[in-house]
């Protein structure tokens, strides 16, 4: 590299390094250090595993942690199952203008704040809500039905909120599958099921993986949907973190929780990548 290029290189490198160091790497190290200390007096701390010990010995914390993970996995699976046929429809069945319109229609709701989307579900599902009224009107229920504040409501909200992040990668990968490959599958005697299983799904695998990772991450880290649709006792792990930080002002325990959440998400993302033999670079690109 000659000197001009060298100066350019460092000019370009600086913002990247500042960003990653000051906003990502060092804060996480600091968070880890905070999680590793125990308050023994006013502004007196000792290094210890006390916070992690608290996490592992308190059943409520562990239960919430596991529950959040399981619900997030479930939300990911449901989102995938709902989104796949729709993506296939958009990518391979409709053509031309309608295809573009449907795709944009999929995108638009997600340019709207998550808060608005959740608010919509609250209007629909609460005791005085639309669904409850509809059930009474059709005679399926004889009194108002509360449909908020349960796990199903949380699930509906999570799936709704994540849909875009599944549909977009799926449509993109499915569109790249040449029609003639599907035709060849039929030409050689395949039927809808075998073509789907042996050709379409393997081809869409990268899209399925990247969509699933993003949806899982968003569900795991979601705060708004579980609190609004699940109510006070939604037992979502992000709520615990928020409470420790903002309500109890116990940053040490909160940081430990944050770290556990980070580990959980990293482990699941990493194992998903390993399982499908993909790298983060190609999945996110």
């Amino acid at each position: 590299m000659h000197s001009g290029a060298r100066i350019g290189f460092f000019l370009l490198l600086t913002p990247l390094v500042l960003w990653l160091a000051l906003l990502i790497v060092i804060p996480h190290i600091d968070m880890f250090l905070v999680s590793m200390r125990e308050r023994v007096g006013v502004r007196q701390y000792e290094t210890s595993f006390a916070n992690y010990l608290t996490f592992f010995t308190e059943p409520l914390y562990i239960r919430t942690f596991v529950r959040t993970a399981v619900m997030s996995v479930l939300a990911t699976i449901i989102t995938l199952l709902i989104a796949f046929p729709v993506s296939l429809y958009i990518a391979k069945i409709v053509r031309g203008r309608l295809q573009q319109v449907l795709f944009v229609l999929c995108l638009i709701p997600f340019y709207v704040s998550e808060l608005v989307r959740t608010f919509g579900w609250m209007i629909l599902l609460r005791e005085t809500g639309l669904v409850s009224n509809l059930l009474q009107w059709t005679g399926l229920a004889d009194q108002p039905v509360e449909m908020l504040y349960n796990d199903a409501a949380i699930m509906i909200g999570l799936v709704y909120t994540s849909m875009l992040f599944m549909v977009v990668p799926l449509v993109t990968t499915l569109e790249s599958l040449d029609d003639s490959v599907i035709e060849a599958g039929y030409d050689l005697g395949g039927n809808g099921f075998s073509v789907l299983r042996e050709i379409i799904i393997p081809h869409a695998a990268p899209g399925i993986v990247s969509g699933s990772i993003v949806v899982f991450m968003l569900s795991l880290g979601n705060y708004l949907t579980p609190t609004m649709l699940g109510g006070k006792d939604s037992l979502w792990f992000t709520e615990m973190i928020y409470n420790q930080f903002i309500v109890r002002f116990n940053w040490e325990l909160g940081a430990a929780f944050g770290f556990m959440l980070l580990i959980l998400s990293s482990v699941i993302v990493w194992s998903m990548l390993k399982l499908t033999r993909q790298s983060l670079e190609e999945t996110m690109a």
Binding site: D30, S113, M284
Partner: protein
């Protein structure tokens, strides 16, 4: 499966119905939010008490419309300010990163690239608390050493901007890199050949080529910042952006005022999104 493969009519019908139901599911929550903005009642729910514009233009209790509700207007202003800052910062850093990764090969590039992607797989709330913890560590340190109280490092708009920027920058980098990768380097060489300096070549040839992606990244960053909740929640101080302000109100119980705000938000962001889509199709 695809149009050239004959399928039973019943199956096609069933499939079409499924897709229609899906779009109904997508539209339903947004539609009810919009409709109840016009309900002449204190509650955004049935029964329908008649149509009114009061939740937009009402200026007296109990129906104060959006445009007369000071705190909401201020929150919109705060959100716009934050979003603009985050957008500009993300596009600037994203462009710089795109050039760095596209034009240079250096030791540790792979590691830096993966690090650059990481913010996408860190839960937003964790990003928020880690920045909160670190900034207060620094602030406390400064107080201990120099007896200086740096307000910028306490929860507030500066931290909100930094927190949102910390992951939106990744998205800007990816969007701009994707376009830079399509750039034909020989165009720059042609400019050099015609007497431009290296910097001029980039300014007059490469940057205009990147412009659609930069504008796209700016709009996406703006929208993402505007609607961000998780990271913001952990870093917010006394000036609440719109999503936080609405969240606080929603917890206390909702009036159709929130529907009216939401409807305006929907219109605003859809228009911006549509404009972006049209702009990119042209480009």
């Amino acid at each position: 499966m695809i149009p050239t493969i004959p399928q039973p009519r019943a199956l096609r019908f069933f499939y079409g119905t499924y897709v229609a139901l899906f779009f109904l599911y997508l539209a339903l929550p947004l539609a009810v939010v919009a409709v109840f903005a016009f309900n002449d009642s204190q509650f955004p729910s049935l029964p329908w008490e008649g149509f009114t514009w009061n939740w937009f233009f009402g200026d007296s209790r109990p129906m104060i419309g959006v445009f007369y509700e000071r705190p909401i207007i201020r929150a919109v202003g705060t959100s716009a300010f934050v979003a603009l800052f985050v957008g500009l910062l993300s596009v600037a850093v994203g462009t710089s990163n795109a050039f760095l990764f596209n034009r240079f090969s250096f030791r540790g590039k792979g590691v830096l690239y993966v690090l650059m992607l990481l913010p996408l797989v860190i839960p937003g709330i964790v990003l928020g608390i880690s920045i909160l913890v670190f900034s207060s560590t620094v602030a406390n340190g400064m107080w201990d050493i120099a007896n200086m109280d740096i307000q910028a490092l306490r929860p507030g708009l500066v931290l909100v901007i930094l927190g949102q920027f910390s992951f939106i920058a990744t998205i800007a980098t990816l969007v701009i890199s994707a376009r830079l990768q399509k750039f034909d380097r020989s165009l720059e060489e042609a400019a050099l050949n015609l007497g431009a300096s290296r910097l001029t070549a980039v300014r007059t040839i490469t940057i205009p080529f990147l412009m659609p992606a930069m504008i796209g990244a700016l709009v996406v960053a703006f929208l993402m910042s505007f609607e961000n909740f998780n990271t913001t929640l952990m870093l917010v101080g006394s000036d609440a952006p719109l999503t936080i302000a609405m969240f606080d109100r929603l917890k206390e119980g909702s009036t159709p005022l929130l529907n009216a705000v939401s409807l305006l938000l929907m219109l605003g962001s859809s228009l911006l999104a549509l404009a972006l889509i049209l702009f990119q199709r042209r480009g």
